[in-house]
């Protein structure tokens, strides 16, 4: 192959290599700026990822729905329609396998189990990346608040738009978790 052809091929590849991350940023920013903000009550634990660094896994209080209807299989993707309660926390109002023609925000969750009428699911935004020294402290901080019966004060701030969701912050006791662990 001629050098120029290789080079043209390479330029195309560089554009794709740049386009993919830019597209990732664009999608997230779009949801952050024009998506609706919800709060989800949560519980952090501390694993690690070899390439992307430390994160805390968030286990959400909202992880099941009763009277779901249809049988669901583990691994299925379902749409969980949500609304805000009086305190601004998200609560599931309906679940469905296919999009419904209603004007309510939804998140795409993964079914973890289905027993009789109760379907358990996992919300997608369950990773929150943190500075490596802080991730474990974050888990400890949560246990502390739990002991003081403040668990209602731990929640994730998530922006949602057309099924896409971006996890913006995790709040403990009114402050972002990064600042909370520094205290």
């Amino acid at each position: 192959m001629k050098t120029i052809h290789l080079f043209i091929g390479f330029i195309v590849l560089t554009l794709v290599q740049i386009f993919v991350p830019v597209q990732m940023i664009w999608e997230q920013e779009d949801v952050l700026t024009s998506g609706e903000m919800y709060k989800f009550k949560t519980r952090p634990v501390d694993p690690t990822d070899p390439f992307r660094g430390k994160y805390i896994t968030l286990q959400y209080e909202m992880n099941s729905f009763t009277n779901a209807g249809l049988p669901y299989v583990q691994g299925d993707e379902i749409l969980v329609y949500i609304e805000k309660d009086v305190d601004g926390f998200a609560k599931a109002v309906r679940v469905s396998k296919t999009p419904l023609d209603i004007d309510t925000d939804y998140v795409i969750a993964k079914v973890t189990s289905n027993y009789k009428e109760v379907v358990n699911f996992e919300l997608p935004f369950n990773r929150f990346y943190m500075e490596e020294t802080k991730a474990y402290d974050a888990e400890k901080a949560y246990r502390q608040t739990n002991r003081n019966n403040l668990e209602d004060n731990v929640y994730a701030v998530v922006h949602i738009k057309e099924g896409r969701s971006v996890l913006k912050e995790v709040i403990i006791d009114g402050v972002p978790i990064q600042e909370y662990v520094e205290k």
């Binding site: 050098t3 080079f7 390479f10 560089t14 990822d49 973890t112």
Partner: protein
């Protein structure tokens, strides 16, 4: 050129073994030959440098500097990527040396990984590790052909293997099968084929000859279904396939140690069959075969490929060239599928099969005057005997006698072969005189 070599040359001249002119010629020959060699060394250092710097960048970014704003982090994500692209583009456009291409390609490979990692970090993009690896591989795969880079090819193979195992094995919540591993593997094969055609004895090829079969053997574990009933069938067939590939004419010039297909295939066959010489594994045998379709596809695929390669060898060289290691899997499959209900027979047959494999390895070793293969055969038989000590009620005296016999066998066979070799060498010497 090493001073030791020059000294040797001088001694040869002084002792009048070679003329001074010839010594000069030899010195010159090696001096020019060394030019390529230092280049090679430079290339290896270049690749390692790029590898370490690239991996270092990923680690530094993984620290997650939360004092930096989102904008700074985003810029940081793109800086290494653009630098990598610049260098790689430069080395393609200016047709720079292989060193340039390998090193810049390696660096670009890591900077792509770092870039998408940092962006996932900034926006807490969910995605499991598997999906991250997937985008990384896809974004770098074309570099294999644009740069003809061996380093990038190796990295792609390693990352694909990691991807397969992560998706299919380690991630307990994932129900997916990493079919894309097969796609990635096939995608790099043309590059490997070109390398093979050019220079089969190069060191690069030897590395690939080990990495590729090892990668398949590891990744295959990701395709085993929940029940795992077909796992041994898959593996034993795969080892049969690898062994047969290792016996293809193209690898004939290679020394055995450089032929990973042959060694992995042979060791894998023996170890897996050795497991089936125990009674308990047949006792624990499932009464019904439950399998998933993905497993079945893989088994059928492997069977077709193995039969094709075996058939090809058969047509090219005739049945005499085919040894027991190449067909052990067929015997195993017959016993496994046809005789599971029968109590003792399968165990006896498997023991006989492994014993015969050991004997045939001894024969191959003796025919080729290869002490390595000869002792490998003896080792197979010894391990088989040691294994039998665990599940038979033989008396200590009998076991002791067996051990002494095997030990004597080791001495005797090696001694006989050594004698034969010396005799053979003497004959050749006599003929030359």
């Amino acid at each position: 050129m090493g001073s030791k070599f020059n000294k040797e040359l001088k001694t040869l001249v002084v002792d009048k073994v070679i003329s001074p002119e010839l010594a000069d010629k030899i010195e010159q020959y090696y001096a020019t030959k060394d030019i390529g060699k230092s280049n090679k060394l430079f290339m290896i250092f270049g690749i390692f440098g790029a590898l370490l710097v690239g991996a270092g960048i990923i680690l530094m970014l993984a620290h997650n500097w939360d004092d930096f704003s989102k904008t700074i982090k985003t810029i940081l994500a793109f800086v290494p990527l653009l630098i990598g692209q610049l260098f790689t583009g430069f080395s393609i456009l200016k047709e720079k040396s292989r060193t340039w291409k390998e090193a810049s390609g390696t660096f670009l490979f890591f900077s792509v990984g770092a870039c998408i990692a940092l962006i996932s970090q900034v926006y807490n993009i969910p995605g499991e590790l598997g999906s991250y690896l997937l985008s990384w591989i896809v974004l770098c795969l074309p570099l294999v052909y644009l740069l003809r880079s061996n380093a990038v090819t190796l990295l792609i193979v390693l990352l694909s293997t990691y991807y397969a195992v992560e998706v299919g094995l380690w991630n307990y919540r994932s129900t997916k099968t990493p079919w894309l591993y097969i796609v990635f593997f096939i995608a790099i094969l043309p590059h490997y084929w070109i390398l093979l055609k050019n220079n089969v004895t190069s060191n690069t090829i030897s590395i690939f000859n080990w990495i590729l079969p090892a990668s398949i053997a590891i990744a295959l574990s990701a395709f085993i279904g929940n029940t795992g009933n077909l796992a041994f069938v898959m593996y034993i067939t795969l080892f049969g396939l690898l062994y047969s590939i290792g016996r293809l004419a193209i690898f004939k010039e290679l020394r055995t140690l450089r032929n990973g297909y042959l060694i992995i295939g042979s060791l894998g066959t023996v170890v897996s069959l050795m497991i089936f010489t125990f009674r308990w594994i047949w006792d624990e045998f499932p009464h019904k075969f439950g399998y998933q379709f993905e497993e079945l596809y893989i088994v059928i695929g492997l069977l077709l490929m193995t039969i094709t390669v075996l058939g090809y060898l058969f047509l090219k060289k005739g049945w005499r060239s085919i040894n027991l290691f190449q067909i052990a899997w067929i015997i195993f499959l017959f016993v496994y599928f046809l005789l599971p209900g029968v109590k003792v027979l399968p165990v006896v047959l498997m023991n006989l099969l492994v014993l015969t494999l050991g004997v045939s390895a001894i024969k191959i070793g003796a025919d080729k005057f290869n002490f390595g293969i000869l002792n490998y055969g003896l080792l197979i038989i010894s391990v088989l005997i040691v294994c039998r000590f665990f599940d038979t009620g033989m008396s200590f005296v009998v076991r002791g006698i067996l051990f002494v016999l095997v030990g004597t066998g080791f001495f005797a066979t090696n001694y006989i072969m050594l004698k034969r070799q010396q005799k053979f060498k003497k004959q050749i010497k006599d003929l030359q005189v």
